[in-house]
Amino acid sequence: MNGNLLRLLVTRHAAFVAASAVLLAGFQFLICAAVASVDVAGALSTLVQSVPPLFQSFVSSQLFGGFSKSGLLAFGWAHPIAQALGAALAITLGTQAVAGEAEAGTIEFTLSQPLSRRAYLGAHVTFALASLTALTLAGIAGTVIGQRTYGLEPFAAGRLLRFGVDYLLFQAAWFSLAFFLSTWGREAGRVALLAFLLAIVSYLIHVIGSMWEAWRPLVPWTLHAYFKPQEILVQGAGIARPAVVLLGVVAVSLAGAWLRFRGRDLP
């Protein structure tokens, strides 16, 4: 890792990371406000009666934790907006690291300096993991402050901690996959598009597989199967298996990225 490059990354991306963190924190705070202010659980429960039975159990148990207030707060983390904020940061940082710099042409000047490719990748990975940690902490702070502000029952510290690790690893896995793709690409737009498509496909397979028996065998092959806000925050589940799988994805993707990048012609 190179401190000088790390400093450059902070300068270049600080505003984007800060904006993502503030938005996620604000969104989680708003979820608390919504849950405390109106009878969201009752409204959703009524709404769910009108959907086909196939969807009813998925919506009530998987998404909203049986319509309890804590279940609705946990849903705030599975909500598409929260998912999109995390994925946008993770995938953008991964995409920009190599393909973005190659497309902009800046990687040629940078890597002709006394900077090894290992140090280059190390700085990008370190910065991305620090940014995703900041995003996770900001989001959790939004939930905690919202719960206190609106008098909602707080999540136990252990559950929050486990959930924070799960969320961080989930986003780190998306970063690593985007990073791996980035080491093969020269155009940031294409790499980002491919990474977002992967995220959307993963999400859809997870949702469909949760409702439809025929697709259930596919669910373990999606990253979304290992992001478990309801199970961890509401039911107090452990994270050993999700953590092992997500860490494995991170390790394999980063190893693949290194193998590709160390021998790649640049820019």
Binding site: L8, G105, E108, S112, D265
Partner: protein
């Protein structure tokens, strides 16, 4: 110690053979011209030297280091041909950023370079994206040279510079060489290489056609001369030493000259000349002669 030793470099991009067994050396205190048209393989060679591109065959020894690792690059300065800088940073912060990559080689030449390249404080305070192409090129040159590198790799360095600044820049390169630094000067402009280099490698389609001194290269050149006389052209122009071909029509003569120009000038001085044009020698003129010599076309 040889500063740069390139031997047998070969590189393919798909079906395109970008480099075919390129070999040359650059010694301390030497400005080595790397001459070739666009697409000849000059940039690929420089990228192989800096480790950005992996050669399919051959070797590069940089300051005695075959690995070309980060340690060796600490003593190298490189100006890419297609230079892109971080647009959101000011020129000054960019110079500082690149200087920090070399904690053991402080930017001792920066102020001297800023003055020679006429880079003003007001320009350094602006974001790079708002600078003109020429000013960005100057910033790139300062980045490449500010740490007083032992080996300077320049890929088309005068692109976008105005003639006055080009002159100042060439003086800087000569100064560096005079202090024992080695320079690899890549260009497709023959006159530029002639003006600053001591030895030249001529590259075409990935193949190094010749490596020779600038004097030898000059002697090879077949240069064209257009003369309009104030009357009929004198007879016997084609027999003047050095003239390889002459086309005469009335008072107009076009002459092709190789080597020393003085015998022809002496001959012309005896006739009333109305107009004389001695165009800039072109790179193609060098290639034509080299092809004739090697028997290829």
């Amino acid at each position: 110690m040889t500063v740069l030793e390139v031997s047998g470099l070969a590189k393919r991009y798909g079906r395109v053979r970008a480099l075919r067994g390129v070999s040359f050396t650059v010694e301390p205190g030497e400005v080595f011209g790397y001459l070739g048209p666009n697409g000849a393989g000059k940039t690929t060679t420089l990228r192989v030297i800096t480790g950005l591109v992996r050669a399919d065959a051959g070797a590069v020894r940089l300051l005695g280091d075959g690995s070309r690792g980060a340690q060796a690059r600490e003593r190298v300065g490189y100006l890419p041909g297609e230079m892109h800088l971080y647009g959101a940073m000011t020129a000054r912060s960019l110079l500082d950023h690149f200087a920090r990559y070399r904690p053991h080689r402080p930017p001792v030449l920066r102020e001297r370079l800023l003055a020679a390249l006429d880079l003003r404080e007001s320009e350094l305070a602006r974001k790079v994206k708002w600078l003109s192409h020429g000013t960005r090129q100057k910033v790139g040159l300062v980045i490449a040279m500010q740490h007083d590198p032992d080996l300077l790799l320049l890929d088309e360095p005068t692109t976008g510079l105005d003639p006055l600044v080009q002159h100042g820049f060439r003086n800087l390169v000569r100064e560096l060489a005079a202090r024992g630094r080695a320079v690899l000067f890549s260009s497709h402009v023959l006159s530029e290489v002639e003006a600053v280099c001591g030895r030249v490698g001529v590259l075409r389609s990935g193949e190094l056609l010749a490596v020779e001194s600038i004097e030898t290269l000059r002697a090879r050149l077949v240069r064209r001369l257009d003369v309009r006389f104030l009357g009929a052209a004198p007879a016997g122009l084609s027999t003047v030493p050095g003239v390889t071909r002459a086309e005469v029509a009335g008072g107009q003569a076009t002459l092709w000259l190789k080597g020393d120009v003085n015998p022809l000038l002496a001959q012309l001085a005896q006739c009333p000349v109305e107009h004389l044009v001695f165009p800039e020698p072109q790179l193609e003129d060098v290639f034509l002669d080299l092809y004739r010599q090697s028997g290829t076309s």
